[in-house]
Structures are given as structure tokens and as C-alpha cells.
């Protein structure tokens, strides 16, 4: 992948034109997945990711190398997404109507399965703060400690939010049936 994240940041700051692209290649999908889970619509998620990467491109000079680049990136992502929370709700409602109408996400993948839509619809029932915790834990596979660092919360608060999110999701996901992969 061309060195670790800190090396790539240093190379970018030194003027290496490929370094920022390599950072995007490493984290673009992850940031997109989180953004999509939060705003609920592909085009809005793409806009959000674009804004985030343009923002970090401008702010990398302020990166202090005191935390992991990924932690810093997800913190920027989460803060940016939360700032867009109200707009996200609007997109979510549009998305939900589209899904309910059986038309799928207009910007989504053609091979979307029912379980993907049902999970997304359930996640959109959560408040943005709970959705972010679920997204970081189960989409990004981050530890409780990493989530706490990104969100600048105690580990106990992270677990409380996860618990609350699961309680909300339980009745919503109860009807989801997993089909074996063909």
C-alpha cells in the first residue's frame, strides 16, 4: 500500500502527488460506508465523502501525528456527518420511501439484496449518534476503545450507546431473514 498512514501523510505534505490518492484508496470505501449508513442515500454519501476528503486535504498540515491517521479521519467524518444530521434525516426519509416503494436506492448497487435495504432502513430509525456507534463497531470493525477515542467519549458511554442502539434495532431487525448466499 506504499507505506503506513503516517508515511503517506508526510509524503503528501512533502509534495508527493500520489500520497493523498493512496490514502483515499485505503480509506475511501470505509468513509463512504460510514457516510452511507449515516445519511442513507448514495449520492448524498458521495457528496459527504467528497467534502470530507477535500476538507482533510486542506487540514492535513494541522495533523499532529499524536493519534493514528485513521482515528483523525473518522473523527472528521463523524463530526462532518453530525453537522449534516438534519439534512441526513431528510435524505433518510426520501430513501425510506424509495425502499418502501420497492425501487431501491437510485444511486445504489443494482444487485442490492432485501437484507441490505432492511438493515439500512432499520439503521435510519436510530438517532445519528447511535447510528454512528453501530456503524463504527459493525461496519468498520473498530474496538470500543477506538470508538471512544474517535468520538471523544468514555468507553462506558460507547457501550451504553451500543446497548441502546441494539435495543432499538431488536424489534426492527426481528423480521429480517438471512438467505444463504447463492
Amino acid at each position: 500500500m506504499g507505506g503506513d498512514d503516517a508515511d503517506l501523510v508526510r509524503k503528501h505534505l512533502a509534495g508527493d502527488p500520489d500520497a493523498f490518492r493512496l490514502l483515499y484508496e485505503k480509506y475511501g470505501d470505509k468513509v463512504f460506508a460510514s457516510a452511507y449508513r449515516i445519511v442513507g442515500e448514495h449520492h448524498a454519501a458521495a457528496d459527504l465523502v467528497q467534502e470530507i476528503f477535500v476538507k482533510i486535504h486542506g487540514e492535513l498540515r494541522s495533523f499532529k501525528f499524536e493519534s493514528k491517521f485513521s482515528t483523525w479521519l473518522f473523527r472528521v467524518t463523524v463530526n462532518h456527518a453530525l453537522n449534516r444530521a438534519s439534512e441526513g434525516v431528510r435524505h433518510a426519509r426520501i430513501h425510506e420511501k424509495i425502499v418502501r416503494d420497492g425501487r431501491g436506492d437510485p444511486g445504489g448497487t443494482k444487485e442490492g439484496r432485501p437484507v441490505d435495504d432492511e438493515v439500512q432502513r432499520a439503521l435510519l430509525e436510530l438517532s445519528p449518534k447511535l447510528r454512528i456507534v453501530i456503524s463504527l463497531r459493525y461496519l468498520e470493525g473498530l474496538s470500543y476503545e477506538e470508538i471512544a477515542e474517535i468520538l471523544e467519549l468514555s468507553i462506558g458511554t460507547v457501550k451504553s450507546r451500543l446497548f441502546l442502539a441494539h435495543e432499538t434495532l431488536r424489534p426492527l431487525l426481528k423480521q429480517v431473514r438471512l438467505e444463504p448466499e447463492s
Binding site: H42, V54, G108, K159
Partner: protein, 149 residues
């Protein structure tokens, strides 16, 4: 152990990190149907969440980010789609104008046609015009965008 302590420990249990409190945790689970149901629910949620496909970034996103970084500002997807529609409408009007006209007339400028589409479309479209200073190039660009949409 009470229900509150159980909920505090439940993620440690799921991660396999519960040691000292394991006996008390298991005892509470056996005696409290609500907490047992919560634990089963979390497990089932985790199974479903992990089975859901993780969406990936569209391939055209990086070129757009690179262009935005070069320009110092983002170009929103929605604006670009609006611009695509504006340009497609402009192209259609251009063809109709040329087709219905029996006498030679000055070629309509791109700006004149876009004015008929609406102010929002004009704004979105103007961002693209500097890159494509003639109709053929703009039409080719719109064709490419529509194919990728």
C-alpha cells in the same frame, strides 16, 4: 448482579473479555428472562448487521475529489447530475431548433439554450462550460456522464 450491571458487562461478555464477573453474569442470565432475551437479541442483531453488504464508494468519486482538490472546492454530485440534465435538455433543444428551421440561422449559443432550462440548471451548467468551450465537446461530455450515471 442486577440488570444494570448485566447491561454494563454484556459487550465484554460478547468480546470474551469477562473473567471475574463471569459466574455472576451467567447466574443473572439464567434468572432474568428479560436480560437473556436482550443478550440473544444483541447476538442476532450482530449476525444480521455483519451479513449486510457494506456499500463501496463509486469509482467516479476519486476523479471528482481530485478535481475538487485542484479547484479548492467540492463539486456536488447533485449539481453535476442537474448539469447533466440541463446539458441534455440543451442538446435536445438544439437538435429541435436545427431540425425545424428551414432557413439558415445563426447557431444558438450554449448559454442562450441553457437559459430556457432554469436558473438552477444555469448555475450548475456554468461550472462546466469553461472546460468545454464548444457544443460538440459539451455534448460528448454529457453523453459520457449519462452513460456513467
Amino acid at each position: 448482579m442486577n440488570c444494570e450491571a448485566f447491561s454494563d458487562r454484556v459487550f465484554d461478555f460478547l468480546r470474551g473479555g469477562l473473567r471475574d464477573d463471569r459466574a455472576a453474569f451467567d447466574a443473572h442470565r439464567a434468572s432474568c428472562p428479560d436480560c437473556a432475551a436482550r443478550l440473544a437479541g444483541i447476538r442476532e442483531n450482530e449476525r444480521i448487521l455483519s451479513a449486510a453488504r457494506v456499500p463501496t464508494a463509486p469509482p467516479e468519486l476519486w476523479p471528482r475529489i481530485a478535481a475538487a482538490v485542484a479547484q479548492g472546492r467540492p463539486l456536488p454530485f447533485r449539481a453535476l447530475r442537474l448539469a447533466s440534465l440541463a446539458a441534455a435538455a440543451a442538446g435536445l433543444l438544439l437538435v429541435l431548433t436545427l431540425w425545424t428551421s428551414s432557413r439558415p440561422a445563426p447557431a444558438p449559443t450554449l448559454n442562450l439554450v441553457v437559459q430556457e432550462v432554469g436558473p438552477d440548471s444555469q448555475r450548475a451548467f456554468r461550472g462546466l462550460v469553461p472546460k468545454y468551450d464548444d457544443v460538440d465537446a459539451a455534448t460528448a461530455m454529457v453523453d459520457t456522464l449519462l452513460r456513467n450515471d
